[in-house]
């Protein structure tokens, strides 16, 4: 009962945040000087602009426009690209661009977690050892190299000069799985570098703090093995922070993949966002950004909710 009420409250809060965020976005769009329809289709005759104003609801004032956009979204009408005379439904574009981004993010997360969990645990356990210091400084440097620089440099070295993989492109995993994974290596690497660094640092700090907790000493004083202490008593409470942060990154990464998708020519959602912003397709842009922020808020709330239910510590705070 308690949980259901909490879920309900979350949903209400989530919807409020998304509605306000998207409304502000529409408001932002209306800040554009001049006629928004002229921004959408710069070289169209007035008649066409009138038609587009009608179709998008731009003619109905900010609230009318927003309501039309929102109700359209709820009914699965995600708006259109009006570029260059023709138009394409955003939903059609989404169908194409979501899978590559999701795969990219998924792989980056898997790689980052697979690397950072052992690294973080070991370097925390051996705090201030040589291993810890080397790992820390390497990761410290790695996190400071922006994805665009690492992407470009990786592509130069491994694709252009060594020719191990193709520098660009995307293949569906269902059509050509080998090629899919090969093409994903470089973009996933350049995304995962930063992620691994921040996850490892996060986990390390958390584990070091946890190791100092009385309950860890208590567990050790039972005479159980170090390994068991580390996994059963240290990792689990520490992993909550890590997983929370990983899940939060899911939403953030959708936006963060823009650069990587552009450098490696992956037709994902980041690519489409950059494109729609560049082409001033404000309706499509609003939809895409709304989806990203929805994803972010959704992951955020879900993780919060799950930790709320599974991690007794947050319940403790609540009580």
């Amino acid at each position: 009962m308690e949980t259901i009420r909490m879920i309900f409250k979350r949903i209400v809060l989530l919807s409020t945040v998304v509605v306000i965020a998207t409304f502000l976005l529409s408001l932002l769009m209306r800040l554009l000087p001049g006629d928004p329809a002229a921004v959408l289709v710069p070289n169209a005759p007035e008649e066409l602009r009138a038609l587009i104003r009608e179709e998008t609801g731009l003619s109905k004032g900010i609230f009318g426009y927003y309501w039309q956009w929102l109700s359209g979204m709820l009914q699965g009408d995600f708006g259109k690209y009006y570029l260059n005379g023709g138009y394409r439904p955003v939903s059609e574009v989404l169908k194409k661009c979501l899978p590559p981004s999701l795969f990219l993010i998924l792989y980056a997360q898997i790689v980052a977690l697979a690397l950072s969990i052992p690294l973080g645990l070991i370097s925390a356990y051996k705090e201030n050892s040589r291993f810890d210091r080397i790992t820390s400084s390497v990761l410290f440097t790695a996190v400071s190299i922006p994805a665009f620089a690492s992407g470009i440099i990786l592509s130069l070295i491994f694709a252009v000069q060594l020719g191990w993989v193709d520098p660009i492109g995307y293949e569906s995993p269902f059509g050509n799985p080998v090629e899919h994974f090969k093409l994903m290596i470089l973009p996933v690497t350049s995304l995962a570098i930063g992620l691994t660094s921040s996850y490892t640092r996060l986990l390390r700090t958390d584990v070091i703090a946890t190791l100092k907790e009385d309950y860890v000493t208590m567990a050790a004083s039972k005479g159980i093995s170090n390994k068991r202490v580390l996994w059963k008593h240290v990792f689990r409470p520490s992993s909550t922070t890590l997983l929370t942060s990983a899940a939060l990154n899911m939403g953030g990464l959708i936006g963060g993949t823009i650069i990587v998708e552009i450098i490696f020519v992956i037709p994902g959602i980041g690519y489409e966002i950059a494109y729609s912003i560049g082409a001033r397709q404000i309706v499509a842009m609003q939809t895409l950004i709304a989806l990203v922020s929805f994803a972010y808020v959704f992951f955020n709330s879900t993780v919060d909710l799950i930790t709320n239910i599974t991690d007794p510590r947050t319940r403790e705070r609540r009580v």
Binding site: V41, P42, G85, G86, D166, I168, P267
Partner: protein, 590 residues
């Protein structure tokens, strides 16, 4: 001058007509023949990936894909005519054409038995439907009875930019199944160029044209390949088993390849690396901005270069019409045009791949003349600046122009800015997405207080080829002549007709000279009129030029048959143009 706008511009793909066949075959024809030294019998099947550098905006009349995207589009759509390497016309969907003595009635015979991908027959009625759509006649018909909004609703979101190019046609009539008669307003010796053209002359299935909701997303043509899917950056086409063409030499049924994927790889280095590595089978490049990549790829033994003639002439348009623009003053125009350091531009910006201009167009073009062309001189430019200040009382000569967001374009703009600064001219650039720039430069209905062309100046590729059909609407004061009997002239003279002349000059002597050229009965007379027109444009400093260049396609040796399959015997279409190669006869060797 921002050349990459040039290469990327989504405007106006042009039409050419060979009135004078002065063009030498591509100097690189021999390069193309390297493939011949590696003979292998054509094979069926296989998939091909091609790298291009433009996006796909859609496939209806109103959508105007740019150069390299047109290469993909032309695998689906075909034109009535093609141009040969000898600058003659060869019928593609058409069989032949004839013209009346007064040059005002053109009769086109179509090839029989051709079918669209959806099974519809390609016939005279279909050709007329296509003309009615692209010329705006259909739009006008609905607009007249039901109003412009209904017309827009019926014919998609925008009209094609082909409208001014076809403004000289009063009527197209189907006579029987395979004959179309075009009645012209003024005499025109180069009319066939209107029916060829990069994109403007594409023939679409009537079913596609009628349905505005699917028009831009579902291309249905007669071409060797059928569209499978497309996104902004990728188009996939698959073999059209019913294709009508056969190799006239071997009698093989075309096409050979099963599937082609065209991918937009915006970044030149990525495209270069991809084709060099063999990740893609072929990639297209522009000599205007990708010199270093072209030169690097030339060194690759595993690749073959296919080069277009150097017939692409970017120019700098100075807007005389916009309020606040300094270019109403001839001194201001002369100052800017005298300040263009072409030699260093070509060296620095095109890495030597461009050719320094001596005229608004290259020597291959019938309009070519060096007369009146403004030469580079900082001293002269400074004098003109002073004269401009004295004339107008302005404290400085300052103007602005747009540049797209690519690093090459920004680099060009920066270079241009520094160049202008040396002559004491202040140039500001605005970075905007290419499509936005085009929209604002060619704006049919500007808001109150603004102008059709929003920019003081714009560097853009509008001139090309060996003839004038494609160039004319841009240099005239209006795409519709003042005397035009075209029913569209009334409503379009103010909007569509006037937007093409980006400089918005009012020198009707120019119109006169070019119309006389079109009406000339002899090539020599036509040439002299055109050259006089060009000279006038140059003397009056209405627009300027820096260099001209060619397009290249690099393909791996796994691709055979490029440029080897003529449409008809002895009538081989061009090997390589700004809209790429003909893919119908290409096959995979492995």
């Amino acid at each position: 001058m921002t050349q990459s706008q040039i290469t990327r511009s989504r405007v106006m793909r042009r039409i050419g007509v060979a009135v004078a066949a002065t063009i030498a075959i591509s100097t690189l024809a021999s390069t193309g023949s390297q493939a011949a030294s590696n003979p292998s019998a054509p094979k069926y099947g296989g998939e091909v990936k091609v790298g291009i550098f433009d996006t796909f905006p859609g496939f209806c009349v109103g959508n105007n894909p740019a150069n390299s995207a047109l290469m993909a589009t032309r695998t689906v759509y075909e034109t009535l005519f093609e141009k040969t390497r000898g600058n003659d016309f060869v019928g593609l969907l058409a069989k032949s054409a004839s013209v009346s003595a007064d040059l005002k009635t053109w009769t086109v015979e179509l090839r029989p038995g051709i079918k669209f991908h959806n099974g519809e027959a390609f016939n005279a009625a279909a050709a007329v439907t296509n003309f009615m759509n692209s010329s705006g006649m259909n739009f006008l018909g609905v607009a007249a009875t039901k109003g412009p909004a209904a017309a827009t609703a019926a014919y998609g979101h925008t009209l094609g930019t082909a409208v001014p190019f076809q403004s000289n046609v009063l009527k197209a009539t189907a006579v029987g199944e395979t004959t179309v008669v075009y009645s012209l307003d003024r005499p025109q010796n180069d009319f066939l160029g209107t029916l060829y053209a990069s994109g403007r002359g594409f023939v679409r299935a009537p079913a596609q044209l009628i349905d505005k909701t699917t028009c831009s997303g579902t291309p249905i043509g007669t071409g060797p390949f059928k569209a499978v899917s497309f996104t902004t950056d990728e188009m996939i086409v698959a073999k059209n088993a019913e294709y009508w063409r056969k190799d006239p030499v071997t009698g093989n049924k075309l096409p050979y390849i099963d599937k082609i994927t065209f991918t937009n790889i915006k970044e030149s280095s990525s495209r270069q690396a991809a084709v060099q590595r063999g990740a893609i089978d072929a990639a297209m490049f522009s000599g205007a901005s990708e010199g270093q990549y072209i030169q690097a790829l030339r060194k690759q033994k595993q690749l073959v270069e296919y080069k277009s003639p150097a017939e692409y002439y970017p120019s700098l348009w100075l807007n005389q019409g916009k309020p606040g623009s300094p270019f109403k003053s001839k001194n201001a125009r002369l100052a800017v045009l005298s300040c263009i350091d072409r030699v260093n531009w070509v060296k620095t910006r095109t890495k030597g791949e461009g050719v320094v201009s001596k005229s608004l167009v290259g020597p291959n073009n019938i309009m070519y003349t060096t007369s009146g062309f403004q030469k580079y001189s900082v001293e002269e430019a400074k004098k003109y600046v002073e004269a401009y200040k004295a004339e107008t009382g302005a404290t400085e000569l300052a103007f602005a122009g747009p540049t797209d967001t690519s690093s090459v374009s920004v680099g060009n703009a920066k270079f241009f800015q520094t160049m202008m600064a040396k002559c004491g001219i202040k140039y500001d650039f605005v970075t905007e997405e290419g499509a936005v720039i085009i929209g604002k430069a060619f704006n049919p209905s500007p808001a109150a207080g603004s102008h059709y062309n929003a920019y003081d100046s714009i560097a853009i590729l509008l001139f090309e080829g060996t003839d004038t059909t494609f160039n004319l609407p841009f240099v005239l004061t209006n795409g519709f002549a003042s005397t035009s009997k075209n029913p569209l002239a009334g409503i379009f003279r103010t909007s569509i007709g006037s937007i093409l002349g980006l400089n918005h000059h009012s020198n009707t002597d120019v119109d006169k000279l070019f119309y006389e050229g079109q009406a000339a009965q002899s090539k020599a007379l036509a040439a002299s009129k055109y050259k006089a027109g060009t000279a006038l444009l140059q003397t009056e400093a209405i627009m300027g030029a820096t260099f001209y260049f060619s397009y290249e396609l690099f393909a791996g040796k796994s691709l055979g048959g490029i440029g080897k399959t003529p449409i008809e015997l002895k009538k081989t279409q061009r090997l390589m143009t700004n809209w790429g190669i003909d893919w119908a006869g290409v096959y995979k060797t492995k």
